[in-house]
C-alpha cells in the first residue's frame, strides 16, 4: 500500500517537476516568473488533442510533434509579448505573463469548449510487480518520460554551446553579453524549451485528470511549491522539491484527508518563503562578485 502510494506520488511529482523546470528555466534566463506556464502547457495539450481527434493523426505521431509544437508556442509567445518588454523592468513582464494566463485560459475554453474530455492514456494501467509491490505501469511510464527530459536537459546545459551560454547568462547577463553571448537568443531558447517541457507535462497529466481548460491550475500550484522548496533557482532543486510534493500529496490524501490535497501546497509555499526563502537544499553562498 505505502509503496504504491509512494510510487504514484513520485509519478505525480515528476509531472509537477516538469512544469517546475519550465518555471525555473525561464526565471533563470530572464528573471521573469511565467505565471502562464501551466496555461501554455494546457493550450499545447489541447492542440495535440486536436491533431489526434480532428486531424486524425496517430498517437505516436502526435507525441513526436508535441515537443516541436511546444517550442513553437514558446518562441511565438516570447517574440510577441516578452521581446517588446525586454528593456522594461522585469515586473512589467511578470504582469504580462498574468495577462497571458488569462488569454490562454479563455482562448482554450472558447476554441475547444468548457467541458472536460477524455484523453487517451499513454501507458497501460496494468500494474507490474517490482520488489514485491504492485506498481502501475502508468506511474513507471510517467517517471521514465520525466527522467528522459531531465537527462536531455542536463546534457544540453553541460555539453552544448547554447547550454553553456545560457548557464553563463543566468549567472551574469551583462558579462555573458560581453563574452559574445547573444542574450536575446538565450531568452528565446529558454521560452522554447520551457514551453516544450510544459506541453510534455500536460500530455502526461491529461490522461489522469481529463483534458480540461482548468486542468493545469493545481499542477501549476504544486510546481510552484516544489520549485520554491528547491529555492526557485535550481533545476535539480525544483525536481527534488516536486517529488517531495507529489509523495506528500498522496500520503496526506490517504492518511489525513483528501480535503488538504491541494491546500497543503499553499501552506508549503508560505512556510518556505517565510522561514527558508533560499529553499531547503541550497546553501546560501556568500557572493563577493
Amino acid at each position: 500500500m505505502i509503496t504504491q502510494l509512494v510510487a504514484s506520488g513520485l509519478a505525480l511529482g515528476s509531472i509537477y517537476a516538469l512544469l517546475a523546470l519550465s518555471l525555473v528555466l525561464i526565471h533563470k534566463a530572464t528573471d521573469v516568473v511565467n505565471f502562464a506556464q501551466g496555461e501554455m502547457a494546457m493550450f499545447g495539450t489541447f492542440i495535440c488533442f486536436a491533431l489526434l481527434t480532428r486531424a486524425g493523426l496517430p498517437l505516436p505521431a502526435v507525441l513526436l510533434l508535441a515537443a516541436p509544437l511546444g517550442v513553437a508556442l514558446g518562441v511565438v509567445t516570447e517574440r510577441a509579448t516578452m521581446r517588446p518588454l525586454q528593456s522594461a523592468p522585469p515586473v512589467n513582464a511578470l504582469i504580462a505573463t498574468i495577462g497571458l494566463w488569462m488569454i490562454f485560459h479563455h482562448a482554450a475554453g472558447w476554441i475547444w469548449g468548457y467541458d472536460p474530455v477524455r484523453f487517451p492514456s499513454l501507458f497501460s494501467p496494468e500494474p507490474v510487480e517490482i520488489m514485491g509491490a504492485r506498481i502501475a505501469q502508468n506511474s513507471l511510464g510517467i517517471i521514465a518520460v520525466s527522467l528522459l527530459v531531465v537527462v536531455l536537459l542536463y546534457l544540453f546545459f553541460e555539453f552544448t554551446r547554447m547550454g553553456v551560454a545560457m548557464r553563463a547568462a543566468s549567472m551574469n547577463r551583462r558579462a555573458a553579453q560581453l563574452m559574445g553571448v547573444d542574450v536575446t537568443r538565450t531568452s528565446l531558447v529558454a521560452w522554447g524549451l520551457a514551453s516544450a517541457i510544459g506541453v510534455v507535462s500536460g500530455l502526461l497529466i491529461a490522461p489522469l485528470t481529463f483534458l480540461d481548460f482548468e486542468m493545469m491550475f493545481s499542477v501549476l500550484l504544486k510546481a510552484f511549491a516544489g520549485a520554491i522548496l528547491g529555492g526557485f533557482n535550481s533545476l535539480p532543486g525544483a525536481v527534488i522539491g516536486c517529488l517531495v510534493i507529489g509523495v506528500l500529496e498522496n500520503l496526506i490524501a490517504a492518511y489525513v484527508s483528501t480535503a488538504f490535497k491541494d491546500t497543503f501546497a499553499f501552506g508549503i509555499i508560505i512556510l518556505v518563503l517565510m522561514f527558508r526563502p533560499q529553499g531547503l537544499f541550497t546553501r546560501r553562498i556568500a557572493k563577493k562578485v
Binding site: S87, N172, A175, A176, L178, V181, V289
Partner: protein, 236 residues
C-alpha cells in the same frame, strides 16, 4: 585604431554623453580620466553596444563603423571590454570563467593555447584554477576579468576602472600587468579614477567631465596641466 566622433548617448531622458570625440592609436595605452558619473562607463558601454542607451555619432574600429553592431559582432572584430566591478561568473571556477572569454571568437577553438598564455601572464591563477570565482580576493578577481578578456585574443581591450577597490600594492601590480599586455601589441583604452597611475603608464589621455571631453593630450603633458593636477592628482 579606434575613432569615436561626436558621440552622444542618453538613457531615456537622461543625457550621459554629449558629442564626445576621442581616438586611440594602434599599439598605445590611452587613459580616460574623470570623476564618478562623468560618463566613462557609458562611453565604454556604447563602444561595445552593451548599455541600454540611445546613441548618435560615429564609432569606427580600424576605419569601419561599429556603432549599433551587436556586441558579439564587435567582439569578433577584436575589441573586448573588461567591465567595471569585474562581473565574473561567480559560481564558475577560474578556468571556466576564462573559457567563457573565448566563447565569442572562433567558436572558442584555440582556448587551450590561449589558456596557457593567460596563465603565463597571471601565474597566480594557476593554483586557483579549480576555485569558484566568488572565493577569490579582489586582486585575483581582477586578474581573472582581464585574463578572460585576453582569451578573446583582442587587438584592443577597454578596461573600466581595473584598480577599483584594490590595495595600493595590488594597484601597482595591475597597472604593470596592463603595460605587459600592451607590450604584446594589444592596444589599451584605460578608464581610471586613479589618475596618477593611469598617467604613469599611458601614452595619451583624455579627461571626461559631465559627458564632455574637457582636456586631452600626451600623458606627460596632461600630468603637468594645472586643471588636471587640481581636479585629479590632488596634492600628494
Amino acid at each position: 585604431m579606434l575613432e569615436v566622433s561626436n558621440l552622444s548617448a542618453r538613457y531615456g531622458a537622461i543625457s550621459a554623453l554629449n558629442g564626445v570625440s576621442l581616438g586611440v592609436d594602434s599599439g598605445r595605452i590611452v587613459s580616460l580620466l574623470g570623476s564618478n558619473g562623468a560618463g566613462k562607463s557609458t562611453l565604454l558601454g556604447c563602444i561595445t553596444n552593451s548599455v541600454p542607451c540611445r546613441m548618435s555619432g560615429s564609432i569606427r574600429l580600424e576605419g569601419e563603423e561599429i556603432l549599433g553592431l551587436p556586441t558579439d559582432a564587435i567582439i569578433s572584430r577584436g575589441l573586448v571590454l573588461v567591465p567595471e566591478g569585474r562581473q565574473l561568473f561567480a559560481e564558475l571556477t577560474v578556468e571556466e570563467n576564462l573559457r567563457m572569454g573565448a566563447y565569442g571568437v572562433d567558436r572558442g577553438r584555440h582556448w587551450r593555447a590561449d589558456l596557457d598564455r593567460v596563465y603565463r601572464l597571471f601565474p597566480r591563477l594557476v593554483e586557483r584554477r579549480r576555485q569558484a570565482a566568488a572565493t577569490l580576493s579582489g586582486g585575483e578577481q581582477q586578474m581573472v576579468a582581464i585574463g578572460r578578456a585576453m582569451m578573446a585574443r583582442p587587438r584592443i581591450v577597454l578596461l573600466d576602472e581595473p584598480s577599483l577597490g584594490l590595495a595600493p600594492l595590488l594597484v601597482r601590480e595591475i597597472f604593470n600587468l596592463i603595460r605587459d599586455i600592451n607590450g604584446q601589441s594589444v592596444t589599451v583604452l584605460l578608464v581610471e579614477q586613479n589618475a596618477r597611475q593611469a598617467l604613469r603608464i599611458a601614452h595619451a589621455a583624455y579627461v571626461l567631465e559631465k559627458g564632455h571631453v574637457t582636456a586631452s593630450g600626451a600623458a606627460d603633458e596632461l600630468a603637468r596641466d594645472p586643471h588636471v593636477i587640481e581636479a585629479y592628482l590632488g596634492e600628494a
